[in-house]
Symmetry: D2
Subunit: 260 residues, 4 copies
Amino acid sequence: MKDIQNTQDTRNVDIQKVGINNIDLPMIIQRKNNTDQVVSGVARATVALPRNYKGTHMSRFVEVFNEWRTKNLLGVDIKGCLEKIIKKLHAQSGEIKFTFKYFINKKAPVTKLAAPMCYECSFKGQIYEDKYKFILGVKVPVTTLCPCSKEISEFGAHNQRALISVKVSYPETEHVWIEDLIELIESCASCPLYSLLKRQDEKYVTEHAYKNPRFVEDVLREVVVKVRNHPVITEYEVECEAFESIHNHSAWAYKKEIKS
Amino acid sequence: MKDIQNTQDTRNVDIQKVGINNIDLPMIIQRKNNTDQVVSGVARATVALPRNYKGTHMSRFVEVFNEWRTKNLLGVDIKGCLEKIIKKLHAQSGEIKFTFKYFINKKAPVTKLAAPMCYECSFKGQIYEDKYKFILGVKVPVTTLCPCSKEISEFGAHNQRALISVKVSYPETEHVWIEDLIELIESCASCPLYSLLKRQDEKYVTEHAYKNPRFVEDVLREVVVKVRNHPVITEYEVECEAFESIHNHSAWAYKKEIKS
Amino acid sequence: MKDIQNTQDTRNVDIQKVGINNIDLPMIIQRKNNTDQVVSGVARATVALPRNYKGTHMSRFVEVFNEWRTKNLLGVDIKGCLEKIIKKLHAQSGEIKFTFKYFINKKAPVTKLAAPMCYECSFKGQIYEDKYKFILGVKVPVTTLCPCSKEISEFGAHNQRALISVKVSYPETEHVWIEDLIELIESCASCPLYSLLKRQDEKYVTEHAYKNPRFVEDVLREVVVKVRNHPVITEYEVECEAFESIHNHSAWAYKKEIKS
Amino acid sequence: MKDIQNTQDTRNVDIQKVGINNIDLPMIIQRKNNTDQVVSGVARATVALPRNYKGTHMSRFVEVFNEWRTKNLLGVDIKGCLEKIIKKLHAQSGEIKFTFKYFINKKAPVTKLAAPMCYECSFKGQIYEDKYKFILGVKVPVTTLCPCSKEISEFGAHNQRALISVKVSYPETEHVWIEDLIELIESCASCPLYSLLKRQDEKYVTEHAYKNPRFVEDVLREVVVKVRNHPVITEYEVECEAFESIHNHSAWAYKKEIKS
């Protein structure tokens, strides 16, 4: 059978990224406590395609994913998987990204009753010009309580669910656990969220949020201060979106920085 | 050219609904104040297909929509559009549904500054056994403030954005304006939402919500009491989902009733 | 602390369904081959609330889910979980629904290379008037190739991804495996989908689809004929949506039936 | 009333972007044919916030949008709106983005019957270091027919809906019409999509796609060649995602370039 993909292309256009997108994959993630978690991931994998080749070979991406999905995934395995893809596709550079829902057993603040709380996380690996870069992403839902509303009102203060999205990079020789990054982020909000709260807990989180009012600007700055001071993080991107309880739109703040 | 759709089918299966789905259409909606609003709609249109026909003619649905889209749509025009579809498809029964974002210029509670506020609405028309039924749907975002949190906490109370979805039916001879149904629904929450709020307004909505705590159960019941007492509404379906600011899941309540 | 939820309500409104929605949960599903699969589920759980009670107790739903999530879920466990919820909430009736992505290792048609293929599935249990009902749902992506396009064109025929959504009920004493229901549904399309296809496989699926043209009406009828003839299924609901490759809208067909 | 936002912040964190997100707005777009189109937009507006200020004033963004929404929007008005926002917020830089569904009356290829076809478009304006940049975005759904499948199969070829997303920049003194950019993009696929196709048209598009097989790589390169040769475009970003009819995942290609 003819291999159309391998034929010559004369349009003189290098393609920066080509591959497969939105493929569902079961994955195994290593947890901080040394156990594993099976998660349901959605992946993208791409390579760069030089101008003289007509096409890439899409099925090979699936073959490598299939081979890798029974391994425990961490930053180091993401690199192995990406290197295999680049080799199998005869490419020079490439990128893979997995997005998945990760569960942490979280204790209520007063009763200490535990239940799984879900966080959307992502692993991204890139190889460009022979250099590997790993990016860990977490999306952490929290409460924000408005400082202005608290200040100007006789009683109460509007509060709402907000989503803090953080992406961080660090050297290959280091490691940041999802669990630790989430804890860092949750400490920056008016209050963390929980799956299971009894009445004593509800009293606690209500009063805790009221005592810690935060604009999206405050949340963003608190996170920035902590990741700036983090010993291994070299780059970060932080976004905070508050789904305002008094509007049908969001308050939103964003910052990206490469630490020098 | 052969008309495959018109050939005989021998599998002995009547199809209840067949047609087109998720088609984008510009539409003109008549407003309460006698002006028009051009909206961006998404539509589904279906007819019933008897067991002996292989297929329906999908392009005819688009032709009727195209013909109808320059008219002012209200319940009565939905009927005309549906009758035309049923006739053109040689069918006995059918159904059309339009979902669209509708804007109302809404004044802030204290400063009275106005800005457009958006509501997702829907028109649904059905003809089964020669009987026409029209269903008006609105989704109204509001604030709910938790009565339990207020009661047990020394200060503050968790509150959040919630979405009240209401569908109502009424006789062909009657009419319910979107504007009036939204107003009825907003009065049932801890507080309505606004696009534009200055500081005096923010103080007002914060305190108003605090003085009017509502569970999803309360919101649902308030709406039910009002639609039950409404002079022309004959059937209703009410759903309230509160995107809890202390959890990453929702509190949810639902009721459906045909008034006797 | 005062239990506001337990106070009296005088608005005279029974609530049909009240509880929690969109909660993420890790779950264990029993597979046909006697192994387990950990999946990431999204759940809703509700009970009926009599008119005289102000509110339900939302945290108890989470407590029951938390207790049940380490069990192997099948129809029979859904019933146990639902009965526990109803008991713990002092309710008469209730409903739970889990939606999750389920992976099946699927072999390519010619090379027989296997890779995981993902299907969105759901388990729903209802108890109303002391009667338990279980509903299994699967969403199966397939290829449909248009019979009309094939007939009228000199070469080629438009084809596209379509999604067949099927819900079935059967008595408590019976069992239908997800794997078997998916196989039944895939046999009704122009061709099933695969995660991994090498060139020989691609030739096969292209030609197989061309030899088996199907409108959404055909796909729906094929499924209906098979579930009608299924020995244990008592009720079904079938929907087929084809994401037309020549339009930006879908062709859509639907049928629901209670077998007598 | 105290203006909390105006108080001092000592955390030493500049915020790159802060403002409102996901606000629904009715907008007026100027069409190529000199008429207007009212569209339903979703907007984000942000400014940069220096390290010494605690917060921005969210309501002012809404006030400017409200003032601007009755104007005919084009690149030049986007600049005016953004300048007003930056001025009103006492900021140095800022960004606004509108996303909206735009309808073009499109004729079928043979019968020439016309019906509205919908495209998701976006306008983005940025001012950083006193320099204005405008970015026009369009998402164009098309058909792609697989060259490999056609080559290796005795008859037929898998084809599917694909989405080509293109963003382009050009100098303030120039203008690119949405209509022209869409036409350029549609010419790069195996076949454009249509809302209304009668049988003669369906024969045409089926055969046209079969005669013009395109991988996502081909589509991407065709678009790149055309925007590279475009007289006024200075920067572009092109993405093509094909929702494969034989897989449940996509083939995907991407390229970004600043013309030198």
